[in-house]
Structures are given as structure tokens and as C-alpha cells.
């Protein structure tokens, strides 16, 4: 899991990623089967303290003394769902602006202060929150609290910085279209799938949306959508809880609440029937595709079973999708499935790419795998393998203070409680085939109820696209990620 905020190009370079997948493992590790019982003991969260400030801010503190560093993660409810209508990217701009000067420091001085002590301080927006995270040596704890406090409660929000950032954000999207189609596939996909629903909004904004964001919009967002009652702060590392608690209470105790209300987000409706969006990139030698529909929320009660099903379907190298499209046929470098979960249901989608000439073949093959999932469910061997995999790969997520801080914040954000970690291994181990089948039925769309997004050379794939449903076409240079109304 990449945590650092990366710029488009770095992200593009790192996105050599492929997802994974699993075929019929009849011969799974005969002699050295996974020690499921041992794995199922899992990892648990060490003790941590929860502090509720009178102004509504929630603070989670966990001491971890193996190394003299402190990590933190702050989530401020809002994010893209709180972007003003049509001004997609407002929260992302605000998140960027937080780093561009706060308290007595201007942008340069702020960056220099963080970097001079080897600290990390990052900001980003997501669908439902603005995130500030970082890590400092514990000897710099006082500086860390000061910078974090300044950033959250009194960012400068300088007009000149806003102008520069907005221009650059628009240009970065144009640059991504030259380098990062793979990363853009899910952005176009979710934008088209969710349509008018706020989950359709690209977190980083669109070229058109960003261009319409004004400086007053940013100030308004900060006043209305930022404040103590929106904020969860998790701090993990080498400190004394009582001292840290007192300092944070002092720093944030007087912080105001958000002046506005958090926009209510309705439950998105699954899209009925098949729909196709064709994004034309003339000359592309490869077609990038997304096939999906609306899935389930983060609070979904069969999450452990869902994790197992998605692991088998498209969540690892030997997944059904990757086996079929990559390992057995060589049609792609990677095929997988992706599940996003928010307070309300996110999306579930197949994502892959293939050379232009094999677009239809690869998509048909992916649809065949989806049908197979529905028809056959998970075999006992697949289920056992997925359990071992999910349990075996879980501990590294909590290896570092940064990983733990992120998890603590998420748990509080979705109101899940520590059981989300502590009981996870047990829940995974207990999943039976029937539960997996129920999840497949509930979460994964079937043929005939699919949203397709294809990015590629339209002249060459227009006909193929039309074979999956009624096609809407747009240009890659269009300053939006979904067709204009």
C-alpha cells in the first residue's frame, strides 16, 4: 500500500502493477498445507486510548516504542462528496493548500521546516475525507504538533498559492492522459458508473471542475467543511500518552467546529442494464477497460467473506481473472477486480487492458470468468487458499506505526471498533462456502447489468464496444471524466 502522496508521473511509473487471480487449485500444497490454525490467531491491536474533546474532535493514542518515531493520521470528514456542485476538485485543492503555508510560515518556510528535520507531512483528499498524515522523529514531537495544529486550524490559504495550485492541478490531469491511462481507467469507470451521484466525482478533480473553482470557494469549503467536530486524529509511536494527550488537548481544545453541515450522501442505485462509455484516445495501441456496478459499503457485515471472494476472483496473482487473461492466454500484463467501499456502497469492477486487436476477446473472456464465479462459487480448495493468503498477508499492514495510525483512524471513521482488526483473522477463518456464495450473489453484478468503460482507439474498437450495449463516446481530451450531459 502506497501511502506517500505521489505526483502523477511517479504514480504512473509505479503502476507497473498487476492485480492477481486463482484458477482451479487441485494440487494446492499437498505436503505443506497452510497452517490455518496458526494463521487464524492473527494479529491484534495493542492497547490505545480514545479521547473525545468537548468540541467534537476524536483523538486516538497508541504508544509504540520500538523506534524513536511518531506517526499520525488525521481524517477530516468531507472530501469529494463535499465539493460544491460542479466544482469537482475543491477538496483536493484545499488539501494541497494546507501544505502551502500555515501559522507564521509561508509555503517555502513550511516545507523547509518539515524537510529540515527529515519529517514527512502529507495531505490529500479522498471521496469522504481530507487526510493529513505524517511522521517525525520523536525528538521533534513538539514541532510536529505545532505544524499539524497550524495546518489544520490556521492554514494561510494564500491566494497566490491557490492560483498556482489550481493551474498545476489542471495540467497534471492532462499529463496523466499522456502517461497513466491505467490509473485513469477506474476514475473514468467510477465517474460513468455513479453518474449524478457524488461518488462519481474524481477526487483530484476534473479539468473543467478545477477551472471553475474560485478562491472564495476554497475559503468557504474551509469554513464550512473543516473543524474539530469533523476530525479524527490517530497518533502512534514513541511518546508518553499522558503528555501527548495534554499537548493535543491544548493544541486542539479551542478549535472551532465546522460551520456548515456535512452533505448527506444517498445510497447509490445499481445501474440497470448494460451501458458503455468509449473514451477515444486516437492512436492508442492498447485498450483499457473497466466492467462493474455498484457494490457494498464499508460497514458490510460479510466483509471477511467479501475479502476472500475478491481475492479468488481478482485480488491476487493467481486469481481467476489474472489466470485466464494473463497466465493462460497472454492477453494482458494484468487483470484483476477492485472493490471500493465507503459509508455508502462503492463500486465493484473488473479492470484490465489488452492490445487494441484483442479488445473483444479479452472482454469476453473476463465476462466468462464473471459467469463462472456466479455459476460455481468458490471451491473448497480456493476458499482454503484464499484464507491462508489473506491471513498471511495481513500482519505487514500493521508492521509500522504509520500503518497502525492509518488503521486506527479508519476504524474510528467508520465506527467499526477494534474488533475490525482483532476479530478479523477469526472471521476470515470461519467463512464457509455458502457465505462466499451469498457474497457473490449480493455484491458481484451479472451479465446484463454491467457498466463498461473502454479507453482506446475508438476507430478500431467502436464496433466491439457496441456489442456490449448502447455506447456513449467522448474524447480523452474532454475536460471531464464522464460525458457532458
Amino acid at each position: 500500500m502506497l501511502k506517500m502522496k505521489m505526483t502523477a508521473i511517479l504514480a504512473a511509473l509505479l503502476l507497473l502493477t498487476a492485480c492477481a487471480a486463482t484458477p482451479e487449485p487441485e494440487t494446492v500444497a499437498k505436503d505443506t498445507g497452510p497452517d490455518l490454525q496458526r494463521l487464524a490467531k492473527g494479529v491484534t491491536l495493542p492497547a490505545y486510548e480514545t479521547v473525545q474533546l468537548p468540541n467534537g474532535m476524536q483523538i486516538l493514542l497508541m504508544e509504540k516504542h520500538d523506534v524513536p518515531m511518531i506517526s499520525f493520521e488525521a481524517l477530516v470528514r468531507g472530501g469529494a462528496v463535499a465539493d460544491p456542485e460542479g466544482k469537482i476538485g475543491t477538496s483536493a485543492l484545499l488539501a494541497d493548500l494546507l501544505r502551502r503555508g500555515a501559522g507564521d510560515r509561508d509555503a517555502m518556510e513550511f516545507a523547509r521546516t518539515v524537510e529540515s528535520v527529515g519529517g514527512i507531512l502529507e495531505t490529500s483528499s479522498s471521496k469522504e475525507a481530507v487526510t493529513v498524515s505524517g511522521q517525525f522523529m520523536s525528538r521533534d514531537a513538539e514541532l510536529m504538533i505545532e505544524l499539524l495544529g497550524d495546518m489544520l486550524t490556521e492554514p494561510t490559504l494564500a491566494r497566490t498559492e491557490f492560483d498556482k495550485l489550481r493551474a498545476r492541478s489542471v495540467q497534471q490531469i492532462a499529463a496523466m492522459k499522456d502517461t497513466s491511462l491505467r490509473a485513469l481507467t477506474t476514475i473514468y469507470g467510477d465517474a460513468f458508473l455513479f453518474g449524478e451521484h457524488p461518488y462519481s466525482r474524481a477526487v483530484m478533480g476534473t479539468e473543467a471542475g478545477l477551472a471553475s473553482v474560485t478562491y472564495p470557494d476554497i475559503r468557504r469549503y474551509f469554513i464550512e467543511q473543516f473543524g474539530a467536530d469533523r476530525t479524527i486524529l490517530a497518533v502512534v509511536g514513541d511518546f508518553d500518552t499522558a503528555t501527548m494527550r495534554a499537548r493535543l488537548e491544548e493544541e486542539f481544545g479551542g478549535w472551532r467546529k465546522a460551520a456548515g453541515t456535512l452533505p448527506e450522501v444517498s445510497e447509490p442505485e445499481p445501474v440497470p442494464g448494460n451501458r458503455v462509455l468509449l473514451v477515444n484516445k486516437p492512436g492508442a495501441t492498447q485498450t483499457y477497460f473497466y466492467i462493474g456496478n455498484v457494490g457494498v459499503a464499508r460497514g458490510y457485515d460479510k466483509r471477511a467473506a467479501l475479502d476472500l471472494v475478491n481475492t479468488v476472483f481478482g485480488g491476487r496473482f493467481t486469481s481467476m481473472l489474472n489466470t485466464k487473461l494473463r497466465v493462460e492466454s497472454g492477453l494482458t500484463y494484468g487483470a484483476g477486480s477492485r472493490v471500493t467501499q465507503y459509508n455508502e456502497p462503492g463500486s465493484v469492477a473488473i479492470v484490465s487492458f489488452t492490445q487494441t486487436e484483442t479488445t473483444g476477446e479479452a472482454i469476453d473472456m473476463a465476462l466468462g470468468v464473471l459467469e463462472q464465479l456466479h455459476a460455481e462459487g468458490l471451491s473448497p480448495a480456493q476458499l482454503a487458499s484464499a484464507k491462508a493468503y489473506v491471513l498471511g498477508q495481513f500482519p505487514p499492514e500493521l508492521e509500522t506505526s504509520g500503518g497502525i495510525a492509518e488503521r486506527l483512524a479508519i476504524i474510528a471513521f467508520y465506527g467499526l471498533g477494534r474488533d475490525d482488526v482483532d476479530q478479523y483473522a477469526g472471521r476470515v477463518a470461519a467463512v464457509e462456502r455458502e457465505a462466499a456464495s451469498a457474497v457473490i450473489e449480493n455484491v458481484y453484478p451479472e451479465r446484463g447489468e454491467l457498466v463498461f468503460v473502454l479507453i482506446g482507439d475508438a476507430a478500431a474498437i467502436r464496433e466491439v464496444a457496441a456489442s456490449y450495449g448502447s455506447v456513449t463516446e467522448m474524447q480523452i481530451t474532454d475536460p471531464r471524466f464522464k460525458p457532458a450531459d
Partner: protein
């Protein structure tokens, strides 16, 4: 999860990856133990019991520099083939068995090395040893599988180079900067070579480079070294050593004049890349160069970010140093806004570099760079995966993993004068290759 990806750059950039924490500690690494089997396989074990997991990396001294025209990309292709079946396991079984035991894996190929990475719960220890040793000893060469994997690699090339203007330009700059040395070849291979290498090429490559005496095994995590050495002996002990591979003897002659390469491709965004010949990974001047590059390109307060991005000449800028067996390139790049003029940006970068060469850097810049490098170093030491990568880097490129623990002191010892000297030595106009991507309108 990366999957069998490639090159140096991705690698270098991957260093910026998260990882978190860790602190200076004199005892760091004192529990590392090593043994070398009679067949030459070196095994290095670093116990770390924080989580019940293991990171196991197998490094082979085989990469793009071991190729020649006609077989470019073969090292990388071979990396793919290592997952495609042995005489004892059908294609796909390697991954199926590993994942069913709770493990995950990946691999990458660079100009210099091929590295296979396994991350698994300690309960899978013996399974992983069996799988890894099996593919070092018994790889099979099925013509059908070879053809299918060609398609996968081609798809990888289409995604990572042909449909990515930044990477497409890098390929051209790299090929222009080297006239003699095999660093000129793209790690993923030229398209016609991907189409044409033969079964015999593969077999020769396997025999030559995938020998125990050409590999080093690093095991970091919740393990007992004695158990690891016993497993190594049991599973790798019978694999015969091979004659040492032919050394790469070509030395790139000094560059004696600026080279430029222009690439015209559909797109909206102009790009500029500049690359200078610098040193090998173990060059004496490398710590000073790392400090210099941190001053120039790390963070929003860095010199080039301030000069280019804050002045709205570029959307983003960055740089990296190829640290390999032979003299690599030091890169600086800028992504321009759609209306941007690469000539203006090139001039600006040149003037920034000239200023450092003549005026040097400030004590504050020096201090900041050292703190950033050191903090990143300790962040890498905070995970078993980071440790395995770091051990490998120092063992393979510096000849001894113990040098890893000297790195902070080496940065600390760098003076402002060292930085100025290395800038003067490397950032000379006649020593550079400049690549420009000119976006053109797509036809339709």
C-alpha cells in the same frame, strides 16, 4: 502489488515508498548471520520478530547489461519465465502453491540484476524454500508457454512504454547516452527482440546466470538462522555451481559533447529529461552525489522544485541516480504545462546547476539533505521487506551488506565542498544527453 516489473527507475522511485519509522541504533544488524554453501550460494539471515512474517529476496547478478543486440529484454523475459513451470511443477503451480500457503511474491529486473521477492507467514517457510530452489534447479521450457509469455511481456511494454510518453522518452535518452555499453538497451527489450529470441537463447541464459554461485539469498523476519541454513542446505545444496558468467568488459568512453534526442508523440504535455554520466554504485563520490540530488530534487523546498514548479515552468520535476555495477546516469526531469517551452526549462535547470558548481550549497541545505536521507534510511529499516531490499543493494553493488550500516555516517561526512566538486564533475554540458518530448496532435 507489482508483478514482475522492470527497471532501475521504478526501483529507485520505489524507494520513496512508505515504510515507516526506525531509529539510529548502534546494535542494528548485529544479529545478522551468513553462510555460503559449497556450491557458492550465499545465504544472509536477519532475524526480526516484530510480525510473524518473512521477506525472502533472491538476487541474481543478471540484468540488461548482460544482453546484446538480438536478445535485448531477455533478462526481463526470463524473470517472467521463472514463474512458468519446472520439470516438477506445472506452469502456474509456483504461484498457486505459494499463495495457498499464505505467501505473495513479485520480481523485478533492472539493468544490473534480477530480484525475486517473497513475502509470507513464517508457517510457509519450508514451502517457499522448496519452490525457490526448484525453479533455480529445474526450470522447464515449454514452447507454448514461451509464446504466451511473449504476449504478456508485449502487453507490459505497450502499457509501460508505448502508451506512456515519459517512459518512451526515457528509453530514447538511455539509448542515446550510451554508444558502447549495454546500458543502452531498454530493460524490457526492443520490440523486434521480444518477438524473436529463441528457446536456445533462453536455455543458455538460464544455465549461465541462474546458478547458485551467481545468486545471493536474503531472509529477513521471524526466523531462526540455524533453521534457515538447514533449509538452504536441504533444498539448494545439490544444485551444481556453474562457471562464472563472462564479465561485462565494455567501458563506455567518456562523452565529449552534448547529445540530444527529440521524440514526437501524440499528447498534450511536453517533457524534458537530462541525463549525465556519473559513477557506479560503489563510487567514492556516491554519498556526495546522493546529498546533491536530495538538495536538488527532494521535497517541495528543494532547489529545482522552487525554481521550476513554483515558478510555474513545470508541473513537476525530479531526479534520480542509476546506481549499478557500471557507470550509470544521473537524471533530472521536468514535466511541462501544455504551453511550456522545454528550451526555457533546460536553460533554467542549467543555470541552477551552474550556480551550485560555482557557488556551492548552504550549510542549511546540506543539513536538510542529510536529515532527509537519514530519515528515509531508517524508514526503510522499519520493515522486513525494506531490510531485505537494503541488504541486497549493499551486498550486490557494494560487495558487502555490512556497508549498509555505514551509510548514515557516509552522508554525515559529506562536506559542502564535496557536493560542489561532484556537481562540477558531473553536470558538464559535454557530459549530458537531453531528451525532449514534443507532443503532437493525434490524427483521427
Amino acid at each position: 502489488m507489482l508483478k514482475r516489473a522492470l527497471p532501475a527507475v521504478a526501483l529507485l522511485l520505489a524507494f520513496f515508498v512508505p515504510v515507516v519509522q526506525a531509529a539510529p541504533d548502534d546494535s542494528l544488524g548485529e544479529d545478522i548471520v551468513e553462510q555460503t554453501l559449497p556450491n557458492g550460494l550465499k545465504v544472509v539471515v536477519w532475524p526480526d520478530h516484530d510480525i510473524p512474517n518473512v521477506a525472502q529476496f533472491t538476487w541474481f547478478r543478471a540484468g540488461g547489461r548482460n544482453e546484446y543486440p538480438g536478445i535485448t529484454g531477455l533478462a526481463h523475459y526470463f524473470e517472467h519465465m521463472m514463474f512458468n513451470g519446472t520439470t516438477t511443477l506445472e506452469p502456474g503451480e509456483f504461484d498457486r502453491i505459494m499463495e495457498a500457503a499464505g505467501g505473495a511474491n513479485n520480481a523485478y529486473t533492472s539493468h544490473d540484476v534480477t530480484v525475486y521477492q517473497d513475502w509470507y507467514p513464517v508457517s510457509a517457510l519450508e514451502t517457499i524454500f522448496r519452490l525457490e530452489a526448484d525453479r533455480m534447479a529445474n526450470l522447464s521450457f515449454d514452447p507454448e508457454v514461451i509464446e504466451s509469455e511473449r504476449g504478456v511481456v508485449y502487453s507490459e511494454r505497450r502499457t509501460s512504454v508505448d502508451n506512456n510518453n515519459f517512459r518512451a522518452l526515457m528509453e530514447k535518452v538511455q539509448a542515446t547516452a550510451y554508444l558502447a555499453h549495454p546500458y543502452q538497451f531498454p530493460v524490457i527489450g526492443w520490440p523486434s527482440d521480444i518477438e524473436n529470441w529463441s528457446m536456445e537463447d533462453l536455455k543458455t541464459f538460464y544455465r549461465t546466470y541462474y546458478a547458485p554461485n551467481n545468486a545471493v539469498l536474503f531472509v529477513v523476519g521471524d526466523v531462526d538462522p540455524d533453521r534457515i541454513f538447514a533449509l538452504a542446505e536441504k533444498y539448494y545444496g545439490d544444485i551444481p555451481a556453474q562457471p562464472a558468467p563472462e564479465p561485462v568488459t565494455t567501458v563506455e568512453p567518456p562523452q565529449q559533447g552534448e547529445r540530444t534526442v527529440v521524440l514526437e508523440r501524440p499528447g498534450q504535455t511536453p517533457m524534458l529529461q537530462m541525463a549525465w554520466h556519473s559513477g557506479a554504485a560503489d563510487a567514492q563520490t556516491m554519498p556526495a552525489l546522493e546529498v546533491l540530488m536530495a538538495i536538488l530534487t527532494d521535497g517541495e523546498s528543494s532547489v529545482l522544485h522552487q525554481a521550476l514548479v513554483e515558478q510555474q515552468l513545470a508541473i513537476e520535476t525530479g531526479g534520480f541516480v542509476h546506481q549499478g555495477f557500471d557507470r550509470g546516469l544521473t537524471w533530472i526531469y521536468a514535466i511541462l504545462p501544455p504551453y511550456g517551452d522545454p528550451a526555457v526549462v533546460e536553460k533554467k535547470i542549467t543555470s541552477v546547476l551552474d550556480a551550485i558548481a560555482t557557488e556551492g550549497v548552504t550549510p542549511a541545505q546540506l543539513e536538510k539533505a542529510k536529515n532527509m536521507l537519514t530519515a528515509n534510511y531508517w524508514r526503510e529499516m522499519a520493515t522486513i521487506s525494506g531490510k531485505a531490499q537494503a541488504l541486497g543493494t549493499y551486498e550486490i553493488f557494494h560487495g558487502d551488506y555490512r556497508e549498509l550500516f555505514d551509510a548514515p555516517a557516509a552522508w554525515e561526512a559529506v562536506t559542502a565542498n564535496d557536493v560542489r566538486k561532484v556537481a562540477t564533475e558531473i553536470f558538464r554540458k559535454e557530459n549530458r544527453t537531453v531528451g525532449v518530448l514534443k507532443p503532437v496532435a493525434a490524427d483521427e
